[in-house]
Amino acid sequence: MEFRQVALFLAIVENDGLNGAATALGVAQPTVSHALRSLERDLGVRLFHRVGRGLVLTAAGRSLIGPSRQLLRDVHAVQELLALPDDDIVGSLDLMVFPALATGPIVELVARFCEAHPRATVRFADLRREENATSVIRDGHCEFVVAHLPVEDGGAGLEVIELGTQEYWLVYPPGTELPAGPIAWSALPDIPMVFVPRVGGSVSLQIENAMQQAGVHPPVAVLNDQREARLPMVLAGVGGSVVERTLAESVRDVAVARPSEPRFTRSFGVIYDPTSLTKAGRAFVDMLRGVRRQRIEGPVCPETVAY
């Protein structure tokens, strides 16, 4: 098993097939397909089913993804150690982020990291299911997970740095007339809403329950998989929506943004395995700790946690 074969294997997975992988890596398609065949021959298993002209991961292929990512990170780490002066970080920071948390604090922290280490790169990937928060780390799919706390299985052996609390606000189109103050989930105005199926995490479940118990069913204008379209739709006047607090506050001047009542909140943070950090990973952890220390030492208002 060659590192290059492993890299090609991951490229096929990430780019949905031989063509995509070849384009992404800037090599010819037969090169990729040859490398895949020889990797399969070496391992003695099929990694992909050939379905028509496409490729579909086999069970064996799926279970190779995590270890492959871990392997490539470790290879990078060795290269870094050999090639570089101590304070130069070039590797890749590898995070999976739950969609509802992919805004505000974590983006700011990663942006800071990029600024501090201009030669490093970041993979800011999608954690679809929060219950996998710890297994994706243990299986090597990524180095850091950003998810709600506490983590599902207690996260034995893993470390957690809390970043803040997540909360949902209601936003309505510009010019919507609503009484001042927070809006109760049990008394949502009769304004059509733009919802995302399963907003995510236990907070949205609490919200759903509160609405259900009160028998509130605001009309649904749009049910949209594309989270990023929620605010643009609100601003275009399509309807109201439920969005993360940081997003709601960003449109306060143009749209009608209100906290909700009760304020269901849940903390979230970064989870990682302290025993297998790359150099880039260690630098990121040091930065998070520094930020937290500043917060604890500085004037802190417990109600408004920035991160």
Partner: protein
């Protein structure tokens, strides 16, 4: 058990006898009696006690009456629902598209449709690129695709809508001295925040993304915009998204430009009323609303 037997049974109950019920139903009395016997035989029970010329419900018959009234109400509700859908007073239109189009043109299309059909819900599914749109249409998961018309859509009906230009949105401090438009080959000089896994990134990868100029490979569109606003790197987005979401960024076209033809795709078979209404709202000239 047929629906007409259930309605005949209720008619007999409501009119208090076969003779009056037959008259109300415009059928002959023997034929109605025959129908009631058929119903009893199918249910394997006796619904009426025949005492002289009067019919009274048995215990079984009384139980069946409750069930029968529920069935008739269900049928009525289903009919109303269908008629509401036919007349566009209710229903859902299912749309498949992918992230490049999530803001432009989807937001405007949905706004137009909802302003003329406020009782119909729009369901938008995210698919993996044009191929995903095509298979969602084939499997019947969506009725309308909003997609790139450069892809072949065999056996489907395509309706061109507009063109979309992909541009660079670059934080000001990274955009000094860049010409507009920028030769595609020079895009590799700019630190970028893009989703390498997205279909359009794969198509354009060889051209635009080198091995080390993608500083953040980011799967979350809102996070990409935030990274650009914070100055981490530039990104490649539709012009409208650049202008609306990253107003402080410098917007630069590419040379040659990346322009795609955006359109609607549907199966060639008959459309539901909601889907037909969506298409007519989408293709109406903008000034009509």
């Amino acid at each position: 058990m047929d629906l007409h037997l259930v309605t005949y049974f209720l008619a007999v109950v409501d009119h208090g006898g076969v003779t009056k019920a037959a008259r109300a139903l415009y059928i002959s009395q023997p034929s109605l009696s025959q129908s009631i016997r058929t119903l009893e035989r199918r249910l394997d029970t006796t619904l009426f006690d025949r005492v002289g010329r009067r019919l009274t419900l048995t215990d079984e018959g009384a139980k069946f009456e409750l069930a029968a009234r529920r069935i008739v109400a269900d049928v009525e509700r289903a009919k109303q629902q269908m008629s509401a859908i036919r007349s566009l007073e209710a229903g859902t239109v299912d749309i498949a598209t992918f992230s490049t189009f999530s803001i432009h043109p989807v937001v405007e299309l949905v706004r137009r449709f909802r302003s003329s059909h406020p009782s119909i819900t729009v369901r938008i599914s995210e698919t993996k690129g044009p191929a995903g749109v095509l298979s969602a249409l084939r499997r019947g998961e969506a009725e309308i695709g909003i997609t790139d018309l450069a892809t072949d859509h065999p056996g489907m009906t395509t309706i061109p809508l507009c063109e979309q230009e992909l541009v660079l949105a670059i934080p000001a401090h990274l955009a000094t001295d860049l010409p507009d438009p920028l030769p595609r080959t020079r895009v590799r000089e700019i630190p970028l925040v893009v989703d390498r896994g997205s279909p359009e990134a794969v198509v354009n990868a060889g051209d635009l993304f080198g091995t080390d100029n993608v500083v953040v490979d980011c799967a979350h569109p809102t996070a990409i915009w935030e990274f650009v606003r914070r100055g981490t790197g530039g990104t490649v987005v539709p012009r409208l998204v650049a202008e609306q979401q990253m107003p402080d960024a410098v917007v630069i076209g590419m040379d040659p430009p990346i322009v795609r033809r955006v359109g609607l795709v549907t199966r060639a078979d008959e459309l539901t009323p909601a889907a037909a209404a969506f298409i007519s709202a989408a293709t109406r000239p903008a000034n009509e609303g």
